[in-house]
Symmetry: C2
DNA sequence: CGTAACCTTGATTAAGATCAATTCTCGTGG
DNA sequence: CCACGAGAATTGATCTTAATCAAGGTTACG
C-alpha cells in the first residue's frame, strides 16, 4: 500500500499553491514529498491521529468527513486531483512546528478517505515544508488565495445547510456541477445536458447533509416534475430553467 | 454616522494580523484606515455592495450573516474587538485589485451589522492594503494563521449543524462560552459558574441554526433537568458535568 | 404609565430521519 | 452465458424534531 517514491516536479508545478515555485524549489519540494496509493475505502488519516503534514491529491478522489458519536457521517469536502487538504493545522501551530517534532501534540481536524481505487496522494511533511515556506514568501500568498476559496466554499455550505431544504440543496448541487463541468467531453448518447456522479449516492447524501433515503425520494420528486431524469450515475437535466429556478 | 478620523497605532498593533508590523508600517496603515461608528442595528455592508476592503472591529460587536429569499437569517460569525472581517474577497481577487479600482466588480460575501450602540470599525481599503502586504511578507503569515482559525471555526460550525441537535448545540455553546470566558471578572452575586450573553436570544438562535421559540423551549428543558438556570442575559450553570456530557 | 422590543408558551404542521423490506446492479465464478 | 451474492438504491410506513402560527407575558425605557 505504501510506495515511498517521490512525485515529480511536473506534477507538483500544476498544484495551484506551488505554481509560483522555481525549478530549484520544486526539486526541494519533490525531495520531501512521498506518494502513497490507496484503494477505495482506505483511510488516509483519522481525526485522532497526530499531525504529520498536509496532502496533495495526485490521482483519484478523497473525502474529508466527520462522524458523530452515534455513527452519522457528514462530508465537509471532496478533494480532486491537484488540490491540497489538511493544511490548516500547519498554520494554527506554525510556531510550534519544527523538523524534528512534526506535530506530536496536535491532530488532524477531520477524517480522510480515498473514494476510488488507485487514489494517489503526496504527503508534504509539516516540519520540512515550514522551512521551504520561510524562504519562499510567494507560496504564502498562493495559500492565502487557496484558503480564501475554501472559506468561501464553507460559507456557502453553511448557507445551504441552514437556509435551504433538501430539494433546494440537491437542485443546487446538480446545477453547479453542470455549470462547472468541462464542456468538451459530453457523450453523444445524451443529446440533453447531464452530469455524471463520481461518488455514491450515499456519499452525495452525506455531502448534502441528508441520508440516502431522503435523497432518493428527492430525486424521484424532481423526476416526477420533469426536471431531471436519473439513470444510474448519470443525471440528465430535462428542464434547466426550472432547475435553476429552484436554486434561485 | 461617519467620522473620517484615523485609528491609532497603539490599537492597530493589538490587532493580531498586524502584531508583526514595525512603527513605520503601523504609521502607514494608520494613514489608510478610517474609523466609522455605528449604532445597534446599523448595516456595515450588504452582500450586494461592491467590495471596498476589509474591516477591523475597534469597539462593540458585529454580526456576519446571510438572509434566505424568504427572509430567514443565519449568523455565520460574531466578530469581537481587535478582530478583522471580510478579508476573503481581497485574496480571491488579489491580482485584479489595484489602488485605483478597489473592487468594482466583486461583492461582499455576506451582510454585516453592528449589534451594539457605539460600535466602531476601521476600514482598510483593499488597493492600499495590497501595497502594504507586498512589502511586508510577515503579515501574510499572520493572515494565514487567522484564516486557519476561521476555517477551523467553520468546520466546527458545520459539524455542529449537521451532526448535533439543537439541545447539543445550545449546551455546547454555553459550555464553550464558559470555558473561554476570562476568569477574573465574575460577579460575587453568583457563587455558581455562569455566562453572560452579549447578544439577543434571537441572534443566539440564528447563530445556533434555529429560531427563538425553539431556543426558548430548549433552555427551559435544560432548566427543568437542573443543568442550567436562565436569568435574563445570565445563564447560570448548575451542573457542569451534565452540561459537558450533553456536548460530549 | 404607555409602548415597543423581547421573550415565553401552547397548538399544530411539515420536513426529514428511522426502521424495515424489497429490488436493482454488477462483478465473479461455475 | 448464467447464477449467485454483495453492495447500492428504492420504496413504504412510522416517528421525531423542530418550524410555523398564534397569543400572551415581561422588560426596558421614554
Amino acid at each position: 500500500m505504501f510506495n515511498f517514491i517521490p512525485v515529480n516536479t511536473e506534477t507538483l508545478k500544476q498544484v495551484n499553491i506551488f505554481s509560483a515555485l522555481g525549478e530549484h524549489e520544486l526539486d526541494l519540494l519533490n525531495d520531501i514529498t512521498r506518494v502513497k496509493s490507496f484503494n477505495k475505502g482506505d483511510i488516509i488519516f483519522f481525526d485522532t491521529e497526530p499531525y504529520q503534514g498536509f496532502y496533495i491529491v495526485i490521482k483519484g478522489l478523497v473525502k474529508i468527513y466527520k462522524i458523530s458519536k452515534d455513527g452519522r457521517e457528514h462530508i465537509l469536502h471532496l478533494i480532486n486531483p491537484l488540490n491540497t487538504f489538511a493544511e490548516v493545522p500547519l498554520f494554527e501551530n506554525f510556531e510550534k512546528i519544527s523538523e524534528a517534532t512534526a506535530g506530536d501534540m496536535f491532530r488532524y481536524p477531520a477524517n480522510a478517505m480515498a473514494l476510488e481505487d488507485g487514489t494517489e496522494t503526496a504527503l508534504v511533511p509539516a516540519g520540512k515544508f515550514k522551512g521551504l515556506l520561510e524562504s519562499n514568501s510567494s507560496i504564502s500568498m498562493k495559500m492565502l488565495s487557496g484558503f480564501s476559496k475554501r472559506l468561501r466554499h464553507l460559507n456557502r455550505h453553511i448557507e445551504e445547510l441552514t437556509l435551504m431544504d433538501v430539494t433546494k440543496r440537491a437542485a443546487n448541487f446538480i446545477y453547479t456541477e453542470f455549470i462547472n463541468k468541462p464542456k468538451a467531453k459530453t457523450e453523444k448518447k445524451y443529446t440533453e445536458p447531464y452530469i455524471t456522479l463520481n461518488i455514491s449516492k450515499n456519499d452525495l447524501a452525506s455531502y448534502l447533509g441528508t441520508i440516502i433515503e431522503t435523497l432518493s425520494r428527492t430525486f424521484k420528486k424532481l423526476q416526477d416534475e420533469g426536471i431531471i431524469e436519473v439513470d444510474g450515475k448519470k443525471i440528465i437535466i430535462k428542464d434547466i430553467d426550472k432547475l435553476k429556478k429552484i436554486t434561485s
